[in-house]
Assembly symmetry: C2
Amino acid sequence: MKKNDGERPLLLLSNDDGFAARGLNFLIDVLEPTCDLIVVAPDAPRSGASCAFTCAQPLTYRKVAQRPHVSIYACSGTPVDCVKMGLNLLCRERRPDMVVAGVNHGDNASVNTHYSGTMGVAREGALQGIPAIAFSLCDYSAEADFEPLRPYVAELVDRTLAAGLPPMTCLNVNFPGGRKTFEGVRLCRMGLSRWQNEVEPRRHPYGRDYYWLAGESVNLEPDAPDTDRRALEEGWVAVTPTSLDVTDYSLLESLRATF
Amino acid sequence: MKKNDGERPLLLLSNDDGFAARGLNFLIDVLEPTCDLIVVAPDAPRSGASCAFTCAQPLTYRKVAQRPHVSIYACSGTPVDCVKMGLNLLCRERRPDMVVAGVNHGDNASVNTHYSGTMGVAREGALQGIPAIAFSLCDYSAEADFEPLRPYVAELVDRTLAAGLPPMTCLNVNFPGGRKTFEGVRLCRMGLSRWQNEVEPRRHPYGRDYYWLAGESVNLEPDAPDTDRRALEEGWVAVTPTSLDVTDYSLLESLRATF
């Protein structure tokens, strides 16, 4: 993972589960031997933060660890805030070669990509013109085993450092949960699904109603062979190339006929 | 704006500036004469919320106004939370014909689409299979004049109610600020831009550092004729068809050659 000049590549890491999360510390463990790492992660979990950024409150950050090739900071903001703080305050003298997010504790495939703070990190990197990957493990358990991901994470980062990515794109990488090995890497598209029954009512001891967002995801195209969801179901590492240009060019053409 | 059966259409409205915002109340004023409206909006401003949803805290809501064709609720959550609460709690007997967001106080064109809570509302509608439009006025002043938008908002809602939108799409509509009239409607693509110098340091009275996210947006393709940014600069209402399928199919094809 050396660059042409023999220098270690510089990677900016973040996540949405917070600086103490096992998934992030696994990612650091995979990359620390070969890369310089600046880690700026939320000071507590920020799941479901999407590309949210903080404009109505000020932000703070503090260094929580320093080793020869790794600096770790905890930030008061969202995942996107962390990337912005990292790039503007901590990477001013040396622009990162890549932004890497995760490893998320949970599934960011299909429409979850829109809600994911992990993908928020990757999207922010891509919006800043930096190649970016988000890694997620489809396993929410505290004992989730990240070790089987190691060679895939290392290879996908290595490939992306070598080949780059086109402007305004990033990679959304999801690993199926509960496995010791994977079938391999499958390139796929974002599958269509829909969340339903998302609001669960509860009653406060004083009688007031409150609500939890929860729900279940329904696969809208269970028979499609080329979705990220199908890849995960069949034990593959799902790599979904993701665009930051969200123009719907097909709809743009069809609407031109009516305006 | 009658449906085939003569019934008023049902619209679910939200925004990211909060239920008391002038832009939302202008939108209600435009649509109330012809539609049934359920409004579920944040109880305070939530700018920059993107598609964030709330999973670590419970949500609450309360009714703040009731008129013959309008119910208005204030919700403790994000814009996306508001749509989820509306659909799951308040629209269970009658599915909305459309989700309408805004009118936002500020610019949601170009890459701002990724950060926008207003677009979060529209994207959530589209993810639930409901035609959705986000309206934004590129004017942050408290005295911004929304009145010139009236015929365009009415017509775009009317057209969309009549024609629908393809699955997994929505419309991002931006109005140039500071104008009494517009050149008309221009269909366009999302322009590429980049935020820079985004972090401004400050010093707390007790000596601690804190930071505000701010910055300026740089147009990366100022000469392109077909972007939303160009349309706005030239006084047009910019309508950007937006896809919820964020797969980059071009990158998917090119990566197939290497994996």
